[in-house]
């Protein structure tokens, strides 16, 4: 009898708090978005599952002694996002960008979304009940970088309490790129601009691809050391792939290693989706600002491409500017799709890959600025 009472008092039903139940619903919603809607399932499925596990009453899976507690060390130390960034580096082909380096400027322009939403977060402090510190604002702004590991790395350093919301916003909006970007791109370009065909790219030699990651790292060392953890691991992965002499390491970095770390990282991010941290008015602000960041980043990229098209010898289709936000490769695919709609012979995919991978560099640089100036 005593046993039965003690059992009943140990059930989830007895111990549930409203907040836990709500966060579990959020977890199930993320699973639904991942599985049924195909929203970045590789990350949102483990994040959603982690959210459910960490909000189970009594079990304490995200508290000391629980598996999610230990996995979180991988984020706290920065190891997980950096290893993922290394794997992404190994998967990235800088060929299109090297063939047309001026597209790097599109990847720069699109980072305006980061700083605009940083300002937006500070402006939201005017709303009673919202209180974002400069660190919080910077961590929120990085959502506009449209790069998951960068966002998680920066948020874990500047605002660990907001990590869950920021990661969820970052990956959700990356999945929503095909919905968010097209209307903005259409609004800012004319039919004629969207029809612009671009010249075929020159082939890029293997030597250039080997030298580039080292050059990128060197520039970052000289100018912005605070960005070197991110850019360094990215360059390492890219070099391992490009050099061709350590294929077994490169393959492992972009397959088994990144898969293992993705599972762990997702679960650990999910463990930060606690009612206490997530069920705040701040979260609504973060979600709103994230959407703003993506929209402004897209717009800045397109406008920059229009300006460059004016001054460039070779034609530049403004649509590829939108790919500058990163969100590789969805943003490039969106640019390609809109290009094909206006001109069925216009394949922009490769041209958009240049600004697309430039956007990854751009947001890592922006992350370095934030990590170095926001204290």
């Amino acid at each position: 009898m005593e046993n039965l009472v003690s059992l009943w008092q140990s059930t989830g039903l007895y111990n549930f708090t409203g907040g836990q139940a709500f966060m579990m619903l959020v977890g199930f919603l993320l699973l639904f978005l991942a599985i049924k809607k195909g929203f970045e399932p590789l990350l949102l499925l483990p994040i959603g599952f982690g959210a459910i596990l960490s909000n189970i009453p009594v079990a304490g899976i995200a508290e000391e002694g629980g598996i999610l507690y230990y996995l979180y060390f991988g984020i706290k130390t920065g190891i997980f996002p950096l290893l993922i960034f290394m794997g992404v580096g190994a998967m990235t082909d800088f060929g299109p960008m090297l063939a047309n380096p001026k597209t790097l400027l599109l990847g720069a322009a699109a980072q305006f979304g980061i700083f605009a939403s940083l300002l937006g977060a500070l402006a939201l402090n005017a709303v009673p009940g919202l209180e974002f510190s400069l660190k919080d604002a910077a961590a929120i702004g990085i959502i506009g970088g449209a790069d998951g590991p960068t966002a998680i790395y920066v948020a874990s350093k500047l605002a660990p309490d907001l990590l869950g919301a920021i990661a969820v916003a970052a990956y959700s909006y990356m999945a929503l790129v095909p919905l968010i970007q097209p209307p903005i791109m259409r609004a800012l370009t004319t039919e004629d601009e969207r029809k612009i065909e671009m010249q075929q790219m020159r082939p890029v030699s293997r030597t250039e691809k080997i030298v580039f990651p080292l050059m990128l790292l060197l520039l970052s060392i000289l100018l912005l050391p605070s960005a070197t953890p991110l850019i360094g691991m990215f360059a390492l992965g890219n070099l391992m792939n490009a050099c061709g002499v350590v294929d077994r390491l490169s393959q492992t970095a972009q397959n088994e290693l990144i898969n293992i770390v993705t599972i762990f990282l997702g679960l650990a991010v999910g463990s930060k989706l606690s009612a206490h941290a997530f069920l705040q008015i701040e979260t609504l602000g973060i979600l709103a600002l994230g959407a703003v960041a993506f929209a402004i980043g897209t717009a800045s990229g397109v406008i920059m491409a229009k300006i460059m098209n004016k001054f460039s010898d070779t034609p530049i289709n403004p649509l590829i500017g939108a790919a500058g936000v990163s969100a590789v490769p969805m943003a490039a695919r969106v640019a390609n799709k809109l290009g094909l709609e206006s001109n069925p012979h216009n394949f922009l995919l490769m041209h958009a890959m240049g600004p697309n991978v430039a956007g990854v560099i751009g947001s890592a640089v922006a992350a370095g600025v934030l990590l170095s100036l926001v204290k």
Partner: protein, 76 residues
């Protein structure tokens, strides 16, 4: 704090543009140097084919199979 944010925005976008613009210059210099000094064959596809090892196996197996197949045909 707002003014600090604006300052941050200008500094940040400035550095991002400066950094990527310098990278543009660096790439242009590097590419021209590389093309002059190491005019090796350009690779149009960049990622080394993942399954190249397997493909070799497949090709070998197929060659062997086809060889056998042909031998049998001859016998008929």
């Amino acid at each position: 704090m707002m003014s600090k944010g604006i300052e941050l925005m200008f500094a940040g976008m400035g550095i991002v543009f400066l950094f990527l613009a310098m990278l543009v210059v660096a790439i242009n210099v590097m590419s021209s140097l590389v093309q002059r000094l190491f005019p090796d064959m350009p690779t149009s596809s960049s990622l080394p084919a993942v399954s190249s090892g397997i493909d070799k196996n497949i090709i070998a197996a197929i060659s062997a199979a086809l060889h056998q197949h042909r031998q049998k045909h001859k016998q008929n």
